[in-house]
Subunit: 349 residues, 2 copies
Amino acid sequence: MSQVIIKDDEVDIVIGALQSDLTSFMEEWRPFFSRFHLIIVQDPDLKGDLKIPEGFNLNLYTKSDIDRVVGPVSNSISFSGYSCRHFGYLMSRKKYIITVDDDCTPARDTNNKITDAVSQHIINLTTPATPFFFNTLYDPYVDGSDFVRGYPFSLRTGVECGLSCGLWLNLADLDAPTQALKPELRNSRYVDMVLTVPARTMLPVSGINIGFNSELVGPALMPAFRLAKEGKLRWETVEDIWSGMCVKVVCDHLKIGVKSGVPYVWRQERGNAVESLKKEWEGVKLMEDVVPFFQGLRLSEGAVTAEDCVGEIASKVKEVLGGNDPMFARAAETMVEWIKLWKRVRAAE
Amino acid sequence: MSQVIIKDDEVDIVIGALQSDLTSFMEEWRPFFSRFHLIIVQDPDLKGDLKIPEGFNLNLYTKSDIDRVVGPVSNSISFSGYSCRHFGYLMSRKKYIITVDDDCTPARDTNNKITDAVSQHIINLTTPATPFFFNTLYDPYVDGSDFVRGYPFSLRTGVECGLSCGLWLNLADLDAPTQALKPELRNSRYVDMVLTVPARTMLPVSGINIGFNSELVGPALMPAFRLAKEGKLRWETVEDIWSGMCVKVVCDHLKIGVKSGVPYVWRQERGNAVESLKKEWEGVKLMEDVVPFFQGLRLSEGAVTAEDCVGEIASKVKEVLGGNDPMFARAAETMVEWIKLWKRVRAAE
């Protein structure tokens, strides 16, 4: 494994609490979370106090904090459901943010050894990415690997990594139709590898298990795209898919890398795919417009920060997709509002 | 594993013989080779008769066959060294061609189980590829896998696969400088996975262990790019890297997929990297021109077959790179000549 010096005070672990009792979740993760600062954001729809075990260094944010910071300025930003974690991204001042859903536990590798997802995300984020040419032996910076014959030497220094997308064992992050069609389908294949997703290649970023460099791409991880019937199950949302494509476009434009692969987390069973089908179908259909849009998107040279890029993407969303579905126009507005909020919260310090 | 019906008579295994005694090579591969037809092409520089064990269904081609078929027409095509296998591609009439270097043996997976590279290549070639959107769980057609949430349904049927690039355990396919700098470096990481290399992403295709659909991309696998000091060791050649980029451009243009990952082969030690450095350095330097050229290459709508595409690529090579180094102009000529030869041999039947 590459040698990386992790400064604990450069990392925030952000948890969106969609359930009140976080005891077993926190205890499972204690060996890997306890040395870092945590930000826990309670889903504003979740009533009552959270149950959080002792011994963690954390800030807890609830609906009253959201109302205080965001206030009545916001007409469209919603932090309900999975989007609550975005309030944690907004409040964090750390360079690196790691986040996992509260229905996930640490995964075991092929040797049945428990894995440290936090350290792996930090390794992914602090070693270079190689988006401009594919290395057939995957991440060349892993011990025992290197660049293969034919890989241009001028590209071997790589670029900074902005986003690390982890994966899932047991319940994979499928959509509701797929899970409903194959109710027994579980992911048991642990592929011990991480790679850079090539430039100009879009991917469906899942928010379940990710790490990112907030200084580089933080503003692009937004709670912008909300389905009319958005639910509290992953397959009832596409907000992470949407902001993931925004991040990828931003990274491609700013010459930053996105990695996908290890670390894995173990996803518990939750929800009923058949019940969710009505809600999800809408998101599934919208992808047919969303993917070609992002694939064809090119930003101007004037966009030199993630904030600039998100502003440009919002204009294009309004212009190109706005007429297709009111949800797109709302997403564009929310993106503009989010960038204002991001800047305002930082300027207020 | 996906269920694929392999028709044995649709497959040729093509072996370039760079050593006279193929006994141990053939015996190691017997369990996987014996049901298929083999084409063995003897390196025309290799004197004497080959030693090949009994019990295989094969055609052997030697220098006299090459002279007879190619004749004095060819001024620039050379079948010496690793390029001899291309004569086998030329003579094959099968849909699928699998080839492995004669210094490779079957690899063992993480459970120490011997793997069948031939079947895996055929699976890769006969299941769809997904070059237009990245699936984070890799090949969605493998049993136990599927498309993840956010993957557009309209892209889930995939496209045909033209090329399957396998990998190497033990001696990885590094260039001479890298191997010379890290003489102890061996690849021991068996990543049990295959993925589609996204459209418009270039990769360094290694000729050591590949399978391809000859009907779709056969003409693009050419012995076109020959270093002045080309040797008999992989790191002393770039012909496979060059034709690999041609194939990738052809596949991207014709909307065909290229996969990379399993199967692995075990590569024996051979050669001395430090001794090879003089020869290889030239190839390493040329990559700095070659990669941006292929990355920027776009073909016309009129190019609808691999032959058409190779013709267009040859023109662009001459036009754009011809002035940089005489090797590029020679490669362009050889490509044109190869396509003529490919058509002539087929027309003569």
